[in-house]
Symmetry: C2
């Protein structure tokens, strides 16, 4: 295949090869599921915003960037405290180059995008230290499922990404509650992964919910309700609704392990139609372990876009190689989908070049 | 064609034939745009609910029926004051038999459906007698346009229907404001069309807005803002966004003339890709004149599903033949799309039989 060096197998290589070949030349729809959780505002948890309060705007701004090529609810684009720009730039570049349509699902945000979005009845999440993180999880799953089923009837397959600041901490919460010991294994958008802080936050949440690790292994709705985030319910619902008809590429980093665990708890039959698509930065990350996480849940294929920004002329992109940001807004999965749709005519380098062009247009004009 | 007797040309016969042939065997998506206007609560204006206050629930209940096969926000299904059931039963039967997916766009409702829907930033409409009927029209049109463009990238064509109680009065308002003298020409869900009342209401709205008939012929945003309803903005946006890529069948009665006028004001170039699909009950209605209305705006084809309930075993359906309800929730267009998708294997009679089956299941069990 023309794209063999562009998309790297990370886990379940044989399954990955079959899954990827099956998508070659097909027309996907990219779905971005957004949510907010107060957990993101705990100092030191999230880098998805210049400061913790600004993380409220990040999901809305990310999807505005995907739909319009510029943000509307904020000036510029979402950046980390160090000024590193959102991975939505990568997603936007990939989807634009390959002409892949984007739909937004609001799992529950505090700031609504100034853009069309699909409402599945979700509301913003609380600080998981309360042990009562998300309301109305079962209803959101059901509505998202209907939407996933509808979308699967019109698209050849779905690529589903997410934007929820603080999402790796809530991922750790749900994984632990469901009996997957993910301590020290979830990723971070920060240069140094604050594992200890995340574990403390999650343990406080589990205590408040009266839940011991593994207690909720059979109850994904209770796990998300206690220590999850609103993205997870909507994301899992879309996957369950779609994957009984069409393949679904879950686009993200270690948060996808938490969603996978929820999907497995809801409808394990669909897992044969699911793979995880991420970035090379997540695949090779020493401070997290997506392969280890996924193998503890279900052996779905994991593949990574071979994105490499080391030769970039732009400093804010070169630092991706040092392990900041790494993934988000489905950047890896969107890149993979763009490559597969064009049967490898588009490469990771083309996408990097487009990111640089857009970066200059958006950030350097200010 | 196998379906020649199932779909009747009403206006621009040559264009209708070309348009319909082009859709044969294709896979559409049905989009239902919903809205509420306080105008519906003026006594005598709307029959889309057992009483005026209940019209708030009708759009939500209609789309719940389309998505779930039953309503959730109300018991039973929406009915007129005489107990005649919603035309959403026809839409549901047609779309189910032909396996056409449904998406809901919330133009601005007072009661949200307990179902997934697309949010385009709309809010419920005021009584048009205020002359300030709808807020944020330009923004809603822009977001709906983006959604229409996305949907057109995944569907072969769109069928767009609506549910907005009071909608023929707001249609008269927008048509008059835009210089189409529609007095005595818009349809009604009531057994006797209250033309005089509608004209009085519209004239009061135009006076309050400081607008004389025709003043807003070049300004559809101002016309909808003054005396329209929230469905129109979202509906027109979807049409404009979709019809530059794919055909759009606007599914409805005389309200479609108002939307057509708005679309023409926004982007006349797309009109070559648009037709109106309605029911035989609207086409042959003596108290309204869809043909006359459309010919005063733009000669798009108008076609009608040859639905005939005169032989129905169910009284609540036979009375459709006496001119109550007639159309709504895209019943005619959905029927046409079901027939075309199956290349005439499905007939109007099959759809009637399915409506009867569903009617018994939903209404007689109570």
């Amino acid at each position: 295949m023309a794209w063999e060096k562009e998309v790297l197998p990370v886990h379940n290589e044989a399954g990955a090869r079959v899954f990827l070949r099956g998508l070659e030349g097909l027309d996907p729809v990219f779905v971005c599921v957004i949510g907010n959780t107060e957990t993101a505002k705990i100092p030191g948890i999230s880098a998805a915003g210049r400061n913790p309060e600004l993380t409220d705007y990040t999901p809305a701004a990310d999807v505005e960037l995907l739909l319009y090529g510029e943000c509307r609810c904020i000036d510029g684009v979402p950046v980390t405290p160090e000024g590193i720009p959102t991975p939505a730039l990568i997603t936007r570049a990939a989807l634009t180059l390959a002409d892949v349509p984007v739909l937004v699902v609001n799992g529950g945000v505090r700031v609504k995008p100034l853009a069309p979005f699909i409402d599945v009845g979700g509301s913003p999440g609380a600080d998981i230290r309360s042990g009562r993180a998300v309301e109305g999880v079962a209803g959101v799953i059901e509505r998202a499922r209907i939407m996933g089923a509808s979308l699967a009837r019109v698209a050849d397959y779905l690529v589903v990404g997410e934007s929820v600041p603080g999402g790796t901490t809530t991922a750790l919460g749900v994984l632990l509650a469901m009996g997957v010991d993910a301590r020290g294994m979830v990723s971070s958008s920060m240069p140094v992964n604050p594992h200890e802080l995340k574990i403390r936050v999650v343990e406080e949440g589990l205590r408040a919910a009266g839940v011991k690790p593994g207690d909720l292994s059979g109850d994904p709705v209770a796990a998300v309700s206690a220590v999850g985030d609103p993205m997870m319910a909507a994301f899992a619902g879309v996957v369950v609704g779609a994957a009984s008809r069409k393949p679904v590429l879950m686009a993200g980093g270690t948060q996808m392990a938490a969603v996978l665990s929820v999907v497995k708890g809801l409808e394990p039959d669909v897992l044969g139609n699911v793979a995880i698509g991420t970035t090379r930065w997540i695949a090779r990350d020493k401070s997290s372990n997506i392969k280890g996480l996924v193998s503890r849940i279900w052996d779905v294929p994991v593949v990574a876009a071979n994105l490499d920004f080391s030769a970039s002329s732009i400093g804010g992109l070169r630092v991706y190689e040092e392990g900041v940001v790494k993934e988000g807004v489905g950047a890896g999965g969107a890149t993979i989908a763009a490559i597969l749709k064009t049967r490898g005519k588009l490469t990771c380098n083309d996408i990097r070049a487009k990111v640089e062009e857009e970066y200059r247009r958006l950030l350097e004009r200010r």
